[in-house]
Amino acid sequence: MSLASTSAVGGRLTDAQFARVREWVYRRTGIQFGDNKRYFVDKRVTNCVRDNGGDFNLWFASLRTGANERVAQQLVNELTVNETYFLREDHQFDSLVRSVLPGIAQRRRATGDGSPIRILSVPCSTGEEPYSIAIRLLSDWPGIEEFDVEIVAADIDTRVLEQAQRGEYGARSMHRVPPAVRSEFFERTEGERYRVRGDVREAIDFTLANLTDTAQMRSFRAFDVVFCRNVLIYFDEISSRRAAENLFGALRPGGFLFLGHSESMSRISPIFDPVRLPEGIAYQRPAIGATA
């Protein structure tokens, strides 16, 4: 049974409906669903249609015309995975320690620049990402012996910042952390709960930031690397453009931006240069004009 026009809970989308939803999702979030994701998309769209009266055409019209932002948000939430855990999308941390930081270190040495290398994690949520960065640097980047590195972790939500500063996590956050890393960088608190080692917690600067607020983001500057993963997909067009501009402003010329694996900056703004690194794609802030 299809969702051709009326209610069909548990049904499937027609090819045309799937194509429409896929196009809308791409425009809104940059996420591309191939035909092999058909079942995943059908199931979640069906849930959304059912929750909003059961008529695909009415639901899609509401989505497409922007009549009800809640409908759009629900679909984005259904199609994206809202979870964070240690060492998530690890290939980007591989990229950081194998390709990006060695290049930055080389330039620092060549120019005699002794300033710290600066890394921003935004939004940092409950802290798994910035701590993962710290752990990977301390474990896998020999340059940490030669250079100071600052890690700044920012989020719009003060509650998650408090959790991040506390640095205590359960099994869900820890599931990808190998035993050796657990014993080196974590202390067991109770049961299956672990707390990040005190010196690592102390080394990260947690702070408040709204990615779309240019005035607030102005204090974020001269970063060599920014991780901004799985958040721009939730923004509308105007907000994501502004966030991209603010991230551009936070980076040094030549600095690197990592987005989530399903996100694409080219959908949002042309101001960054995509860079193909051996471990995956990153975006680089070009120098502009006279101040390059």
Binding site: S2, A4, S5, T14, D15, A16, Q17, A19, R20, E23, W24, R27, N57, F60, A61, R64, T65, G66, A67, S115, P116, R118, A134, L137, L138, I144, E145, E146, F147, D148, V149, E150, I151, V152, V200, E202, A203, I204, D205, T214, A215, R218, R221, A222, E237, I238, R241, R242, E245, N246, F248, G249, S269, P270, I271, P286, I288, G289, A290, T291
Partner: protein, 204 residues
């Protein structure tokens, strides 16, 4: 060496991004010789309605694509007819980057774009009309089906009509069927429009 907390790296001494953030200062910085200063000024003029004329002038004159994009980001958020009118003029530009920037910005401006689309869709340049359909293709506005219908009913150029039918395919079965059938009837010798009509008729 190792992980350190911030304060070690201060902004460069010549960084003037904290200076003169009042609208008057920002408008002056919009004319700065330093492109980075112009870019920041453009972003910081968000929400300053009095700055729209100066931003439009800046958008027109700006040669640095990165700065121009920052200006357009701020202008798009204003979503005003006068901004859309300026961008509509860019659709006929010889510079593909400017044309593309105008399309993308207009797509994010439902109110402004709505104020210029009726005129754009009857302009004499078929290339501009095609770009206007591209604007409609991503515009979040309840008037989208009516604009597409108007194109299919009256546009003399079959490529513009085909672009409208393509867009309708992304919206709704009934609309796609209706427009594809009408387009195929108007241009019976156009194989692509015949194909779209067959496709729409078989949509299920």
């Amino acid at each position: 060496m190792g992980l350190v907390k911030k304060a070690a790296a201060e902004a460069p001494a010549e960084d003037r991004r904290d200076a003169g953030r009042d609208p008057e200062g920002l408008l002056a910085q919009l004319r700065s010789a330093d492109p980075e200063e112009r870019r920041r000024a453009a972003l910081d003029l968000a929400g300053v309605a009095e700055a729209v004329p100066a931003l439009l002038t800046a958008a027109r004159a700006e040669q640095q694509p990165t700065v121009r994009d920052a200006v357009l980001t701020t202008l798009a958020a204003h979503d005003l007819p006068e901004v859309a009118r300026e961008l509509a003029g860019w659709l006929g530009d010889d510079d593909a980057a400017r044309r593309n920037a105008a399309v993308v910005t207009l797509q994010a401006m439902p109110t402004g774009a709505a104020a210029v689309l009726d005129d754009l869709l009857v302009t004499g340049d078929a290339r501009v009309r095609t770009l206007a359909v591209m604007v409609i293709s991503a515009l979040v506005h309840p008037g989208v089906p009516d604009w597409l219908e108007a194109v299919v009913d009256a546009d003399p150029d079959e490529n513009v009509v085909a672009a409208a039918v393509d867009t309708a395919q992304q919206l709704e079965d009934d609309l796609a069927r209706q427009l594809a059938t009408a387009a195929a009837a108007r241009f019976p010798a156009n194989p692509y429009l015949q194909f779209l009509a067959t496709l729409a008729a078989g949509a299920r």
